[in-house]
């Protein structure tokens, strides 16, 4: 009985889900002019001055400047929002800057129940201290494992790259972009960065793999990467797919209002339908 009812409800749920397309859970699309940063790894020489600039802009401790070696993974942390890693690849040693990817539809922002993690209209994903309750669901959800939590603080914060959100509001460029001596980093509107990236591949088809990491990964990210070596050799996850992460919980969230309205009606009806057989002892605990 229980299972049949459950399946029936599921059926109703499915039928009712069809016309619900505009219920979309806060879907942000490409149409807004998100800003992003294009990283051309073929230009990066691994000087790590972006790391220094990042630390200075965010008031973080001085980063270790000689740590980019092949085989050593330098992850970002609560003290370092951006890290240069070195990878041994088919085309020799390649330096790659790693930081928050600023997804178009960030898993962390969809996961946040207080909207502390927040995708701004301009593109950067920021964290708002007064809202966060520290559940760390953003960390669980982020496909790039970028939000970092201050485990050793009684008043912990979530730390990660904010694309220098405060500098952007003052009309400046992100610190790392401004500093980069090799122009490996370009800040701009994501749409224009994609054009630029495609142009570079088109102009020098032999110098690049014909893929822009971040164009479609996890639904598209604010950071875009060009590379001469396949991206799996650069420590990138290439198994993320092109679906925006909030889509994974969309079906479940669609079902919620449907169950919330149908289930009680159904239960009450069931209760009334069975009433005749035993009319006594209603509501008697």
């Amino acid at each position: 009985m229980e299972r049949r009812d459950f399946l029936r409800t599921l059926g109703m749920m499915g039928a009712a889900t069809l016309p619900c397309k505009n219920l979309r859970a806060e879907a942000q699309s490409d149409e807004k002019e998100f800003h992003g940063i294009l990283v051309d790894t073929t230009r990066c020489v691994g000087c790590q001055s972006c790391e220094e600039a990042c630390a200075e802009a965010n008031g973080l401790p001085e980063p270790n400047i000689d740590d980019a070696e092949p085989g050593v993974e330098v992850k970002t942390s609560t003290d370092q929002f951006s890290s240069i890693n070195c990878y041994e690849t088919d085309v020799g040693e390649v330096y790659v800057k790693k930081q928050c990817m600023h997804c178009n539809q960030p898993a962390c922002a969809a996961a946040c129940l207080t909207k502390a993690m927040f995708k701004t209209k301009e593109g950067p994903v920021i964290w708002r201290e007064d809202k966060c309750m520290g559940c760390r669901y953003c960390m669980l959800s982020c496909p790039f494992d970028m939000p970092k939590f201050e485990y050793d603080s009684p008043i912990p914060k979530i730390q990660k790259c904010t694309m220098c959100w405060e500098r952007l509001q003052e009309g400046e460029q992100p610190a790392c972009v401004e500093t980069c001596p090799e122009e490996a980093l370009t800040f701009g509107k994501r749409r224009e960065l994609l054009d630029e990236a495609k142009l570079r591949i088109y102009n020098d088809p032999d110098d690049y793999v014909h893929h822009i990491y971040g164009e479609h990964e996890a639904g598209g990210t604010g950071y875009l990467y060009l590379s001469a070596a396949p991206f799996e050799q650069l420590g990138f996850r290439t198994d993320l797919g092109t679906t925006a992460y909030p889509e994974f919980t969309k079906d479940f969230l669609y079902a919620v209002p449907i169950i919330l309205t149908l289930w009680p009606t159904f239960l009450l009806a069931l209760n009334k339908a069975i009433k005749k057989e035993s009319e006594e002892s209603e509501g008697e605990l």
Partner: protein, 433 residues
């Protein structure tokens, strides 16, 4: 004016009486120094110290959580497993109030109480895990409703469900204090609370699974599927009922003196019925697991350590206890039922920990293993719950109706008069229990 004064004096009198009564009830019953109490005291003191350290120095001081493993056993075991174990309340209230299966009426109160306390303590343990617990009210009252978050749904449902369960349970509190009119009012809310509670449970039992939907690529493919919410919901049915069976067999011993003759005589019958439902839902669950497995084309993963681990969970702790339940019902073997319920509960612990901790980032070289302090605090939470449970069961009419109420029910059935006499006002009496 006079009438106003009258009711006011009555109210003050009554509240004085209540405070006196409450204070007298606070005193422990039975021997103070028992092995259980000694262990409980030790663990509670230890747990309290560790909790103070945790809030003074941050989560890192007592837990082994890391940037790679943001959730440990406080979420994976306390909250996610604890809530599955508390699923008995919505299943039993569904059977008794919606399907009107009167046979199970005697165990409603103890089950609802268990469920309520489980939510208060295990979902309450969530506060220990929150980095910034003072902001916990933000999703409730703040201007920051993250409605696209599954966690938002789970948080609201925890809160609402605790209220619903408290309403379901509240007539027992009113009986204990002796407030008949209040009890009559609270009883009238029961059906509504039950319907609301079942709806909420459906959503947040599955919602706890849906939390992990965005951890795609982080959970081993044998455990990750888009059907996690449905699997979590179905398994919460037999997890909850197995817990009811196990708790029932324990309280038959521990609370022997508190159990009504009615419950005592029908206990075996109830256990067999529950075992039957467990067996049925477990077959459904096993079948669903199989479907998900075949649908996902996961054959290749089976021949690996994680694959063997998966088989242990699904065969050892789903199929075998399911079969055991079936056999036990057929031969009316109660110890087999008990063993099956224990195996089932272990299976649920394995499943929930697999999804949240063990198969989570199975590829990392440095794995999360809980620290002894995390385990100690978890134990402290469990013992605190058990102590409160014992305190309530030993005082309130949980496993039996009070004699007074029993008479009243009889009278009500004959007279069909519900506290209409004006003298009733003066009759607010304190239970002598």
């Amino acid at each position: 004016m006079n009438a106003g004064n009258g009711s006011l004096t009555l109210l003050t009198q009554e509240s004085k009486r209540f405070i006196k009564f409450f204070l007298s009830e606070l005193k422990p019953k039975g021997k103070l120094i028992t092995p259980f109490n000694i262990i409980a005291t030790f663990i509670l003191v230890l747990g309290t110290i560790l909790i103070i350290i945790r809030f003074a120095k941050g989560l890192g001081s007592v837990t082994n959580l890391s940037q790679e493993y943001p959730w440990g056993i406080w979420i994976g075991f306390d909250v996610i497993t604890g809530v599955a174990f508390a699923g008995g309340a919505y299943v039993i209230t569904f059977m008794v109030y919606i399907l009107r299966m009167e046979k199970y009426h005697p165990i409603v109160r103890i089950t609802v109480l268990n469920g309520f306390l489980a939510y208060v303590f295990y979902a309450g343990a969530l506060l220990l895990d929150l980095g910034r617990p003072w902001n916990v009210i933000n999703p409730i009252i703040g201007n920051s409703f993250g409605v696209s978050s599954v966690m938002f749904l789970v948080a609201w449902h925890f809160m609402l469900y605790m209220i619903a369960e408290f309403i379901e349970f509240s007539p027992a509190v009113a009986e204990w204090i002796g407030w008949k009119r209040v009890r009559a009012f609270l009883t009238s809310l029961t059906l509504g609370a039950v319907i609301f509670g079942i709806t909420l449970s459906t959503l947040h039992q599955s919602g706890l699974g849906a939390l992990f939907l965005m951890a795609k690529n982080k959970i081993h493919p044998l455990w990750y599927s888009e059907f996690i919410p449905i699997l979590f919901f179905v398994s919460s049915i037999f997890a909850g009922l197995s817990m009811v069976i196990l708790e029932g067999s324990i309280s038959q011993k521990v609370f022997r003196h508190r159990i009504s003759a009615k419950l005592h005589s029908s206990h075996n019958d109830i256990v067999l019925g529950l075992a039957k439902i467990c067996a049925g839902t477990m077959y459904v669950y096993f079948f669903l697991k199989l479907l998900v497995f075949i649908h996902g084309e996961h054959w290749l993963y089976l021949n690996s350590p994680m694959g063997y681990w998966f088989l242990i969970e699904v065969i050892g702790f789903v199929l075998i206890p399911c079969r055991l339940y079936t056999q036990a019902v057929r031969y009316k073997n109660f110890s087999a039922v008990k063993i099956a319920s224990i195996l089932t509960l272990i299976g649920i612990i394995l499943n929930r920990l697999n999804v949240s901790v063990i198969a989570f980032k199975w590829y990392e070289t440095v794995r999360y293993v809980p620290s002894w302090m995390e385990i100690a605090i978890t134990l402290a939470v469990i013992f605190a719950e058990l102590l409160v449970l014992r305190w309530i069961v030993n005082r309130m009419p949980i496993l039996s109706h009070s004699a007074e109420i029993e008479n009243e029910i009889k009278n009500m059935k004959h007279e069909k008069i519900f506290f209409k006499q004006p003298e009733e006002l003066e009759e607010w009496k304190i239970s002598s229990m």
